[in-house]
Amino acid sequence: MALVESKNLLDVNGIRQSFRRPNGDDLSVLEDVNLSLREGEIVGLLGRSGSGKSTLLRLIAGLNFPTGGRILYHGRPLAGPAQGIAMVFQSFALFPWLTVLENVELGLEALGTPEREMRQRALAALDLIGLDGYESAYPKELSGGMRQRVGFARALVVHPDILLMDEPFSALDILTAETLRTDFLDLWCEGQMPIKSVLLVTHNIEEAVLMCDRVLVFASNPGRVAQEIAIGLPQPRNRADIAFRKKVDTIYISMTEKAGERARRTHVERFPGTGIATVLPRLSTNVMAGLMEAVAAPPYNGRADLPVIASTLNMEIDDLFPAAETLQMMRFAEVAEGDIRLSKAGLDFVQQETEDRKRMFAEHLMTYVPLASHIRRILDERPSHRAPKSRFRDELEDHMREDLVEQTLRAVISWARYAELFSYNDDDEMFSLENPS
């Protein structure tokens, strides 16, 4: 590879990142990630929470160091935070004790910019981003949207080549987020911003299609680039356009195919033998039932387009995908080609009253969620019908990360409570078959 001659602003080559677990094993977060960033483009990193996209962004920002691989900025390896790379944070990351102006000037101050130039550039950046008059305000006096504008101004004022954006709109309400996106795109298209290229991390598919020239779809566990999708629509884009909807659909299909494949894989191939070691999402049975009811009702009548149902129910993909996959795992639904289709059992479930729903749910839980049937069997076998949580925790920790163990156990406890399959007392951390009398 002729890296030095590359015209790319940024090259990420074979990045690996792993953390040492307390028991000594390595936990892989990113595996063999490659990407490049050229002048004049906005590239999106799209994936679910926990897919490692934010970790990658922090590596590119030079805030952490990868376990393996190379990051080249202007053809030179990155060593720590680089001069021309600025970042915008999901949490805004404004210093509460500094005024808007002081926050914006901070980066210039660190560069040793002369006072007059510093003031001039900061005011220009605030002006550009629509914050005149707010110079002396403290961040806590501002609304979320205004705070993020300060975040943008602070990043732009140092005139970076690359702007890294870590879910910059996801802490804002829908309306504010849309205004900010449009303002940002306007400035970008008019070439008013002193930046050459943007890398945007997001979990919002429509946002990615709206803003990016290319989208890299991330897969999780370990995080890696699963697919690259060029958007190729002219700006400004319209969400209602057929071409726009098609792109959104394509990405949904690509993201659910991977997931569907994984859900099918879980019992049979991935963990032969017990099969208890499937990571379960923390998902309320209310959400599962609600999703099934929505899909069963008109106009969908049992089959719905995922992007459509997502916007109808106002669900982000971090909520929708786990719900859809769990329904698939429990054979209440099937997810394919960007659609969700209820199975016969799923349609049946929706028709039932509470007691019968619980009974059906219990049956499916016992049949298709091996961990649930495993816990139930242990409790049945023991004379006391009691077992401590630590027993299952230890068992699961052989297969997955501690935080996922906790999440999985919480999920199975909540589902089993609904199904009245077994009970759990958080005070003494005991599973049992008894219900509180």
């Binding site: 790379i85 970042m87 999901q90 990351a93 509460p96 560069l111 003494d428 005991m430």
Partner: protein
Amino acid sequence: MAKIRLPPTVSIHARGVLPNPWDGVAFVLIIGLLALVAHAAHEMTIPLAVATSSPISLDPHVLPEYALRTTLRMILALLASLLFTFTYATLAAKVRRAEVLLVPILDILQSVPILGFISVTIVLFMAMFPGSVMGAEVAAIFAIFTSQAWNMAFSFYQGLRTVPKDLDEASRSFRLSAWLRFWRVDVPFAMPGLIWNMMMSMSGGWFFVVAAEAISVGNTTITLPGVGSYIALAIQKQDLQAIGWAVLSMLGVILAYDQLLFRPLVAWAERFRFEQEVGKTAPTSWVLIVLRRARLIQALATVPRRLARLTGAYRSPAATSRRIAGAAGSRRMLLGDILWYTAVAAGVAYVAWRIVAFLASGLGLHDVVDAVLAGFVTFLRVVILIALASAIWVPIGVWIGLRPQAARVAQPVAQFLAAFPANLLFPVAVSLIHRYGLSPNVWLSPLMVLGTQWYILFNVVAGASAFPADLRYAAANLHVRGWQWWRRAILPGIFPYYLTGAITASGGSWNASVVAEYVSWGDTRLTAYGVGAYIAKATNAGDYHRIMLGIAVMAIFVLLCNRLLWRPLFLFAERRLTLD
């Protein structure tokens, strides 16, 4: 544990900054009460039948028993403090007329040097139980109580005042009886803060139990079997080995009650935390898990509830309209107010007159000037030492706090060091100062912060570990480094935490000055000029006039520090340095 910000131990949240008339009222009442007691003690010229208990032995084998006795005193005092907290703070929070008086009183009580309470009250307690050790025991327990109760009551009062509005409205709409509401809403809500304060109180208590077990006021000398007297005797006999044994046994005791008492309490109180931080691991305790699994104990735990139900304390009051409507009601209120405030004013005037009379009977103006000068010197000491301790521990604390692994190790160690009664180590310092002929005025000073500096360390560690990761990243991304990083990023970030530590440390240092400015090792006695030594000297001489004067001067200094320095800083930190 690292993420919890400890509440400060002074009344930071009370309204206003400047001292108001009610502070004056409270001050007069408390000093007056103490003067009254001192006066009574002064009159008792008859030599009290000196409590003759079995003589203290320096054999290390008796230490477990001594440690047990000392711990028992601590626990009894803690129970008394709880009882005081539940009654006093509840009264202050629920009765408007009581509140205006009770809250300033608590504030003044916190400023009175704890050893002052011992000096003044011990003779009274001895007189209450003539010829028996009981009097000395009660005096010691009372002394520990005075070191524990005030901040607990404050934290509980603040808890009661900040019960969320919706919880308050829910409990009123269900017409919970006062008793049920107290146990189901008020106590649980205030519990996490109260438990942290109990832990702080316990740490403070160790310092004074050591002082309270072996004390001589004038010609009354008391030694109660316990670690404190053991150390006193070891100091007298210059037995370093015995002091080593005592330190070791203290280590054991502190570890034991941390595991057996406070860890379970903290883990248990976790469920009362109103706001749940996501992703934070909750504290755990093996003792608590054992207790929860034990069915017998679970059954026993329901007894009080059953009793309360039997006695009908849970039952809602009959639906009566408590408000008397109209002008008649408000007129009656006004009349009540007038009567109440007149009574308070009259009481204060009388007590003020008695104080002046008492002090004037044995002191002149030059004595007052003396005491104030001494107070000023001690004030300088506290300021310089807190500044020095901060200069040392803030950078170290930040370094530790930003490294999770180091913080996990350092945090419990710092908390432990804060709990350790530093006065156990004073004799060693004295022998060194004496041997090298150093100036006591300078070299006794560090003893004042020996035990209290750790509050600065562990609060700074907590602050640095709670510093948001995104702000760290943002600073790095903007290339903020060196002095700019300290000034713009981390120092403002940890300041609220640092403040809590510094407030606690300075309060503790004032208290410690009574012991630290006046220390002995065998026959060697070292004295530094200051109000602490002034009080200690007067105590030794049985000079009640000067004891009272010293206490009053110190209380005023502490109060002014809190009001004019700490509270404004704290309000500033709340307003400017936090995002929400």
